[in-house]
Amino acid sequence: MGSITLEKVSKSFGTTNVIPEIDLEIADGEFVVFVGPSGCGKSTLLRIIAGLEDATAGTIRIDGADATREAPAKRGLSMVFQSYALYPHMSVYGNIAFPLKMAGQEKPAIDKKVRDAARVLNLTDYLDRKPRQLSGGQRQRVAIGRAIVRQPKAFLFDEPLSNLDAALRVNMRLEISELHHQLKTTMVYVTHDQVEAMTMADKIVVLNAGRIEQVGSPLDLYRNPKNLFVAGFIGSPKMNLITGAAAAKENATTIGVRPEHIGLSKREGPWQGTVTVVEHLGADTFVHADVDGVGPVTARAPGEFAVKHSERVFLTPEAEKIYRFGENGDAL
């Protein structure tokens, strides 16, 4: 079991209010990702759930019970840190066994659990090594091993992949997703990378300046961004946000069109522009163009699209995929 409920949780450091009141419901077994730019308060929020930081006001419930004043050790949660935070003076075995030792379990029981976890995480051959003798990915797995042995009510991940190189990151992303399917334990995952959020989450919480901008499933956020911030944050390449006459024509202050919802042509279309940069990725082609009377627009063409710098192109935004935003940035 591992449901987490935040009720009117807020946090201030001195006089600066980093998190205004937040309400959030995390269901048992759910994979929830907090995503937002750096400094948006997502890590602070996670640390409040962990108990490493006090909430200035509000209530945190874990499985319905009030845990607001509970020490981190008592909350039954596990955390994987950005720096992995492995104990450098202990072997891999010692690191994974540590939480069980702290819980006062018997030696044979500890041994079995550590070896089981090591097998799941492919660490069996490394149990006697010290953390400094491991690669980044292995350290990451030790940190996860340390988190899973005590069978917590929920896992908390604080940007766990940001210290890995790109290829390894994709791998670990898959491993963590797989782990979630196996364990079916609640996971709360913090990242600034919207791709991680989109690929892993059951539910995404988009945070900005301490506020929750929107909560929803990845596709829900993609299809129905509530406001400009979410629209710009979710999706890659970013949604084109256009103001001025083109927006006024749609009765909005700003309109947004995703690059994948713009048709490209060399002959015809409502928008006409000059190509500034073309990125050929093989599977896709990103065309950045300066559209007359609209401004810079990025369009995505599937496959190859032969066009060069400074050539003229025509763009056709799909009418039903145009998002309209009002003066205050909210979707209309």
């Binding site: 108990g51 930081e53 006090d54 004043r69 020490a71």
Partner: protein
């Protein structure tokens, strides 16, 4: 890192250290201040009476105080001068690659670990003795009249002894600072056409400035309280020629049993030390933020 629980635990864990130091500092200091306002001599028990600022007036107008203040400044200044100049030269020397560098380094820092009473006695007897000392032997070797160091040049002799003890400290700190100098910076200066001398003046010396300030301030704190070296070599004499403030207060308290007068002297010493301490605290405090 900060929850109510950890914060209150932190406060609890700091309490013993803070309390102990508070009691150690405030209680005796308050007592010293109180005593300094009394006429109080251990040879005349039961005769304590309020004396107001009398002790201070006596202490400050005593010619011994003027002499001791001057001696203190000369001792501190002399040792600082010797250790800074000598320490810089030694640090530059030890920074050069040569055979047995590590061993020479150990030889150079050794004096710092010699207890003050030992170094004072060794210098007093075996080096500075006017008849049997090594210095006297060297003087005779050159056909010179040996000097009776501690009688004719008492303050200079004490300065030499103390400087010998503190030279390693300055050397070690300046050497550490020297070795933290970015090699590329020196190479860049070389590429820019700077010779060894201008490299030293424009690159090395500014880099050492901070370490030098640290040396000056920390040595000053310790040198204001030089005591054992004077006690076992000259006993402050002849007359008051090698008496510093610390020794003067000691003599007043434990040789003349004048608690009131010694306390006034102690307070004066505290005030003098505070003037230095303010600068040191600023410097270290700045470092704490960085």
């Amino acid at each position: 890192m900060a929850t109510l629980q950890t914060r209150s635990a932190a406060r609890l864990m700091m309490t013993p250290a803070v309390l102990m130091l508070f009691v150690w500092m405030i209680v005796p200091l308050a007592m010293t201040l109180y005593f300094s306002l009394l006429r109080y001599n251990l040879l005349m028990p039961g005769m304590e009476e309020w004396a107001g600022t009398l002790n201070y007036r006596y202490f400050l107008t005593d010619p011994a105080f003027g002499a001791a203040l001057l001696n203190t400044l000369l001792l501190v200044g002399g040792v600082l001068l010797i250790t800074l100049v000598g320490g810089t030269l030694l640090a530059l020397l030890l920074d050069q690659p040569f055979f047995g560098q590590g061993i020479v380094r150990l030889l150079v820092i050794a004096p710092f670990f010699v207890m003050p009473t030992v170094s004072a006695l060794v210098w007093k007897n075996m080096l500075m003795h006017p008849v049997y000392g090594i210095f006297a032997w060297i003087a005779r070797l050159f056909g010179l009249q040996p000097v009776d160091w501690l009688s004719s040049l008492p303050l200079f002799s004490v300065t030499m002894i103390v400087a010998w003890q503190w030279l390693p400290f300055a050397t070690l700190i300046l050497l550490t600072a020297l070795q933290s100098l970015d090699e590329e910076q020196k190479e860049a200066a070389e590429m820019d056409g700077a010779g060894p001398v201008s490299r030293f003046i424009h690159i090395v010396l500014p880099h050492l400035a901070r370490a030098m300030t640290v040396v000056v301030l920390i040595e000053t704190i310790f040198l204001l309280s030089v005591f054992a070296e004077i006690l076992v070599t000259t006993n402050g004499g002849p007359g008051t020629e090698s008496t510093n403030i610390t020794y003067l207060v000691y003599a007043q308290a434990l040789l003349q049993f004048d608690v009131g007068g010694a306390s006034a002297g102690g307070i004066v010493a505290v005030i003098l030390a505070n003037i230095v301490a303010i600068f040191l605290i600023r410097l270290i405090g700045k470092n704490l933020e960085a």
